[in-house]
């Protein structure tokens, strides 16, 4: 049987110092005391990450440019884009809500995808390298506030409410929204934070 080297790690939620097998010997490692996720197998899926990110970027633009839904009542037609909905909150005097929706559905996903692209592209574009650690920091700061999946559910609830008294046509942005949820979730599941850092370091060297 092959012996695997182990490395020392510390659980981020209960601070227990423990050894885990290094070199991807196990698929996933959990803390022996509190059960928190410690690490999982990371294959160097650089190209996979890049393709997912390019797809996310295209979807992000689609989600922000095209209308989300179109509503038809008695010959009146009304469509709204994501930014249009935020604007209408703003014009109705709900500035704080407009800012909250803007940050959670437009800014945070855009920052996340933009910074991830920067990190992944940095080995190719040396110009980006010096600002990489700001990108990693920004991703960590904005990640909890990126709520595209909750927004998607909100759209579905709204559609059911409106379908009772109007015709609803789903817009391209809605499909883009669903796509972004899938691409971002896959990215998050395959690439942990420290792997991003490793890539960014490789970019600097």
């Amino acid at each position: 049987m092959m012996e695997h080297a182990s490395t020392l790690t510390i659980c981020s939620q209960c601070d227990l110092v423990q050894a885990i097998q290094s070199n991807n010997a196990v698929d996933v490692a959990h803390c022996s005391r509190c059960g928190c996720h410690l690490a999982h197998r990371v294959d160097d899926k650089f190209e996979f990450a890049l393709s997912l990110l390019i797809a996310s970027a295209i979807l992000l633009v689609t989600m922000n440019v095209f209308p989300l839904v179109e509503m038809r009542v008695n010959g009146n037609t009304r469509a709204t884009t994501l930014i249009g909905a935020v604007q209408s909150l703003y014009s109705q005097g709900m500035v704080s809500l407009a800012i909250l929706v803007l940050i959670t559905t437009i800014l945070s996903p855009a920052i996340e995808i933009g910074c991830l692209l920067m990190i992944v592209l940095s080995p190719k574009l040396q110009k980006l390298a010096p600002s990489i650690h700001h990108a990693v920091e920004l991703i960590q700061k904005f990640h909890p506030w990126s709520m595209v999946e909750v927004f998607m559910l909100g759209v579905l609830v709204t559609l059911v409410k409106l379908a009772a008294f109007s015709d609803i046509i789903l817009g391209p942005a809605l499909w883009a929204c669903a796509g972004i949820i899938l691409t971002l979730a896959t990215l998050k599941a395959t690439i942990p934070m420290h792997q991003l850092w490793n890539w960014s370091v490789r970019g600097i060297k």
Partner: protein, 204 residues
């Protein structure tokens, strides 16, 4: 199960690059030698910050439920909807699975978050050694479900953006929505400030 904590051994892990490095107790600001991220054995002022946000959230929770989240104006007059009346309306109109979903996201989740954070903070402040593993799991639950209470905010945003047909009906967001948004943001900040490692500190 017992073991040594990073703090007791003077070791700290970088949450950016996962490097474990040495840290003596006296240093206040230490940078990771690998990636120069800030290192700290515990989140600074965790209990105070987390408690302040929790109190702010609890205060906002009252107007969030009293004031209407949106006002629907039609030719027949205008109607105010609070969070609870919105759920009741959904259930009565026949879409009870949807009603259950909104009930969960806008009533169960915020209450659960307020309750769970109170338990976590109270137990840490009392230096409790009770069920640390379960309390850590509770923390993970709060972190995971916290975002889902934004659901109602998005529904109001979209309804207010779409239903603006002058002759027929228009929907305007209300003060309740602002207060509810504040509850979501404050509980999320409270959870982000809380350091679950404090739960384990009194066991050693």
């Amino acid at each position: 199960m017992t073991g040594a904590s990073g703090k007791s051994l003077g070791l700290v892990i970088c949450n950016r690059c996962r490097l474990v490095s040495k840290m003596s107790g006296k240093e206040v600001e230490v940078l990771c030698p690998n990636c120069s991220a800030n290192l700290s054995a515990r989140k600074p002022h965790s209990v105070t910050n987390s408690l302040s946000f929790l109190i702010a959230a609890a205060i906002c929770y009252i107007p969030a439920n009293i004031f209407p989240v949106m006002t629907t104006s039609t030719m027949m007059g205008s109607e105010d909807d609070t969070i609870i009346s919105g759920v009741i309306l959904l259930v009565n109109s026949g879409s009870w699975p949807l009603g259950a979903l909104v009930f969960f996201a806008s009533i169960v989740v915020p209450l659960l978050k307020l309750g769970a954070l109170t338990i976590l903070l109270a137990s840490v402040m009392c230096r409790s050694t009770w069920a640390p593993r379960q309390r850590t799991q509770l923390y993970r639950l709060v972190e995971f479900i916290g975002r889902w209470s934004m659901l109602d905010i998005y529904v109001v945003t979209l309804l207010a953006g779409l239903v603006q047909i002058q002759s027929l009906a228009s929907i305007k967001p209300g003060t309740g929505a602002v207060a509810f948004g504040a509850v979501v943001v404050f509980t999320m900040f409270s959870a982000l400030c809380f350091d679950p490692r404090l739960i384990w500190d009194y066991l050693e």
